[in-house]
Subunit: 622 residues, 2 copies
């Protein structure tokens, strides 16, 4: 965590000085904004936290509910989401209060007495085999709290406008603020009042029954499945020994997906309510909680639940749908003005614990693009990449969830190999963990001609961190964790053996990066460039590295000591990042987007190619 | 982190429900309190956070300053302090914002050109070789902020009464509230008003010039040394390559102790101002900052500092003093009513980074004793152990610091072996890291007759955590980290090979613990008893362990799933705690105090001895 570079900070360094629109930000929702976010779910709140890093941009978030979410809804936090929380500055805090999934156990009918269930398999969770972040369970309400804090503490000081309902919108063909949004105040001093807000861009983060989606004429494509599930968050006493372990329970009486929750007592159960008749007309949704509990007890036999408190419950029918487009640009030549995220553009079962996670990545993908365009760093065409990148991910999600939830809903007699669910769970782990997304070539994903120089950083996938030694202080740190969700690009310049080619690259690249960086901004305001040497850190002195790695920033013009790294092993790490990520010993430059995806891989003598990439993705600084 | 057991918690689980005196706590300082804390430094604020866990007790903290500390003072955080922060719930947050000491480098005159300094030695820091906690640097102001948060969020809802100055006190011989304290409001609506507060106990946490110490007639014994140091927190640009590494710099021009600070830019320098003449009369304290900076540059030659901002600076003369008693009980038969902590009873140089750390341990030692006596759990005689335990620690501190600061103040020609400072630094690491404290036999430190059953838990030293597997969820967790600073004792019952003797012990011990636990309190309100098995966790089911390990708590009577552990190795840890802590395979019971010190070591068939220990340390529950 870096601070004090604008002068001494006495209080919480997580609270940044207000800047731009964050200074004297109006409590009242203004009539004209740059970005209007509709909905305060995971995608919308992440987006608010992200936009708070662009204080030049006026961003407001409207939410029809009167205040923070209290209860219920999503709770699965995949490793990629924790990685994202790290970028937003609260990974260690939410991890401390979450349930950590160490295992997933599978239960099935006891062959000796098929009316009883027995534990058939224990499967270690995949998270730590894939990355350095855990697989957590914590209520969505707390995720939203942390994003709200990041939004409020960022320089843009963004706070949701609660009690404002979205009514509809019209996208005009001209004007600076072409989106006309109709809203109604549902609480506060203006309760009942209908108003029109003009916006440059609108993000529809308003859930499965999205009004924004309807307003732009996008359609949810897919069908409701004929299977119903009850879900309950309960505090119980029980003799079921796996109450605190994630389980898939398959019994003669039905199926349960069992998810322990944060705090050591509460668990969530998804209870199979069976096939839904075609003429049911959603009557299944009226299933009383007593019936759900009865059913859970039947499935768990010979174990029983003594339910002491029901914190929340609901019934839903599994649907799998993707929207036919993620923005309002029906015509490919038109700049999109309205975007859909999260449940507004993909809905599915809760069984794979994906919804909140994929939604947050929608928001992470969109936020920096809006910020870059609105601050003049990138052309408007960047915004078309949002839908192009996220729609295929949504389709993969639906396909995965359909298969997983079908497997979970099988009857015992349909299961030939009791271990196949466990096998599937582990074999497919890269997808649910959030790391399988790979964006294809575009203005922000370059050529794969040099992929061989950095085999461990697949182009278009998220930058997988590894430990290195920070030369300035000799500490082992995760190279990727320095990257915060501040809208900046990261450029990791891995040195050749003696650093000669790196020095030459740095001398040339410095002026290139400067062309796309405002003259009155810090030298590293757009590109945070780091040099990583092959030598032990003891053989490097920060003070003798290229000027590109010693930028001065802030009003005091202080040199940044956290740009220069050395590969381990050293006293504090066993990792040699060149070996771990299969990096060329001749050096390689890895360019990473603000949302942490690898955008370009270039050789140290490839500054011409770097220039070409930058010209495609950025506008020259004004 | 355990919560939801009193019903579903929607918000931040770190914020506990207010209870007792925390409900409707008066903003105004009342005329009568149980505990009055004087001073809001590290000892006082820790004490406030601790007392907030005893909401039955009325505790107030007065501080003459008008608000929170903004700047300066201590910054070294030893591993034992981070362990303490863990118990108070904020270790991961403060670690994320602190500077982590990975190395200490030593600089001396270049033999080829003694006017110039060169790096002579790099020494890896000791913290991670000693324990699982880091060695940090972070401003005292932030430490106080976190303790303030813990105090405010605890059930007692304690908030400092700023703007109230201590004037004096008198201890009367009788009455419920025998201490009469005279104070003056220095701010707020009652500014200028002098009042009398009656207290049962007073903690003097009011620093080196303690008014409480003077009021009870205790004397600071020792002398001022004849050596002066300037200290400055500065933001600079420099070519000194170790600006971000802790260094001891010894040059012809003098000595510097160099301490990088949190945030990546700021560092603190202690600059040797040389011998102080006998007739100086503290004139050295007027040394201007320009002179200190000039001196620093002279010592650093050939490197230079371009100071861009001085955040704080001061000059002091090294003194080494210990108070002749830590409470007001001049007569050993008298119950102490007034206690001294921190700088009020020990002052020394800042060079070993000890002051704040030892002060916090004073507070940690005193807090639970006051709480136990005031809630009727323990006899008043417990309070005499505070001074008996902490005074020897203070003396060790003074002795260590005197030696270390003398070594640091040497001239180059006095140094025969340039490596001896590094050698001393590492050889003595257990003391400065905070783990050498070992309390001797008393009513709360039992007999060492059974030490051989648990060689890795020396009686009277702090309980050194190790990883185990929590049976309920199969996660690897640190056994000691479950222990929070909640005033409860921990009893770790390590099983025999097949658990038979453990089961027998648990059956007998259950009623023993019950005798000292109020009937209307949770079963584990006083003793948090855990069972640790030798088998892999897969061979144990929590639901079949002794009832002592499955207590019900809270209004819902929910079973606690976090009392039963198994030794590793397992998928998530390589550690076998029985091997790592040299525990008898026949089992052993380790009783640990609320401040984490090992109080008793007993065999599984030693319930009679356990009973004897409990009778000495506790009062039977009312």
């Amino acid at each position: 965590m870096q601070f004090h570079h604008h002068g001494y900070v006495s209080g919480d360094p997580r609270v940044k000085d207000a800047e731009g629109t964050g200074i004297g930000r109006s409590e009242d929702l203004p009539n004209e904004v740059d970005v209007l976010i509709v909905g305060s779910g995971p995608a919308g709140m992440l987006l608010a936290a992200q936009m708070s890093q662009y204080p030049e941009v006026t961003t407001r978030l409207i939410e029809k509910r009167e205040g923070r979410l209290e209860l219920g809804q999503a709770d699965g936090i995949q490793p990629r989401s924790v990685e994202t929380f790290q970028a937003f500055g609260f990974a260690e805090r939410i991890t401390a209060e979450a349930y950590n999934i160490g295992w997933m156990n599978f239960w099935g009918p006891d062959p000796a007495d098929p009316q009883r269930i027995v534990r058939t398999t224990r499967t270690a969770d995949y998270a730590y085999d894939i990355c350095e972040f855990p697989h957590l369970i914590v209520n969505q309400a707390r995720v939203l709290d942390y994003f709200a804090e990041a939004a409020a503490d960022g320089p843009g000081r963004i706070v949701p406008d609660y009690g404002v309902e979205f009514l509809g919108l019209t996208v005009h063909d001209d004007g600076d603020h072409p989106v006309e949004v109709r809203v109604r105040h549902t609480a506060g001093p203006r309760a009942g009042e209908e108003r029109t807000i003009r916006a440059k861009y609108v993000a529809g983060c308003d859930g499965a029954r999205s009004g924004v989606r309807e307003a732009i004429g996008r359609k949810h494509v897919g069908s409701m499945a004929a299977h119903a599930w009850g879900v309950m968050d309960v505090l119980v006493n029980t003799d079921f020994p796996d109450w605190r372990i994630k389980c898939a329970i398959n019994s003669r009486a039905g199926n349960i997906l069992h998810i322990p929750r944060e705090g050591g007592y509460l668990s969530r159960m998804y209870i199979d309510l069976g096939e839904v008749a075609e003429d049911d007309d959603h009557r299944v949704r009226q299933t009383p909680i007593a019936e759900i509990i009865r059913k859970a007890n039947a499935i768990l036999h010979p174990y029983t639940l003594d339910v002491r408190q029901v914190a929340w419950h609901s019934v839903y029918e599994v649907g799998h749908r993707v929207t036919d487009g993620f923005d309002d640009a029906l015509d490919a030549d038109r700049t999109p003005r309205v975007f859909l995220t999260g449940d507004a553009c993909h809905t599915h079962s809760a069984k794979a614990g994906q919804g909140m996670n994929v939604s947050m990545q929608d928001g992470f993908n969109l936020g920096w693009k809006l910020g870059s365009v609105l601050t003049g760093r990138a052309p408007e065409s960047l915004l078309a990449t949002y839908g192009a990148e996220r729609q295929p991910v949504a389709q993969q999600l639906i396909d995965f969830d359909r298969e997983w939830s079908s497997l979970m809903a099988r009857k015992p007699e349909e299961i030939s190999d009791p271990g196949d669910l466990a096998t599937y769970y582990l074999a497919t782990a890269e997808f649910p963990s959030g790391f399988m997304t790979q964006y294809t070539a575009s203005m922000i994903t370059g050529s794969d001609a040099h992929q061989g120089l950095a085999a461990g950083y697949p182009l278009g996938k998220r930058f997988k961190s590894a430990e290195v030694v920070r030369v300035g202080d000799g500490n082992a740190v995760h190279l990727g964790h320095h990257a915060r969700a501040d809208g900046r690009w990261r450029v990791y310049a891995f040195a050749d053996r003696d650093g000669t080619a790196l020095a030459a690259w740095a001398a040339e690249a410095e002026s290139l990066f400067a062309r796309f960086t405002p003259a009155d901004a810090d030298q590293d305001a757009v590109f945070d460039v780091k040099g990583i040497y092959q030598q032990p850190f003891e053989e490097i002195e920060v003070t003798t590295t290229p000027a590109l790695f010693q930028p001065r920033s802030g009003p005091l013009g202080l040199v940044d000591w956290e740009k220069v790294y050395a590969a381990g092993p050293s006293k504090w790490t066993d990792v040699d990042i060149f070996a771990a990520r299969e990096l060329s010993r001749d050096g390689v430059v890895v360019v990473v987007r603000p949302d942490q995806y690898v955008a370009a891989i270039l050789p140290l003598d490839g500054t011409a190619e770097l220039e070409g990439f930058l010209q495609g993705a950025f506008l020259p600084a004004r």
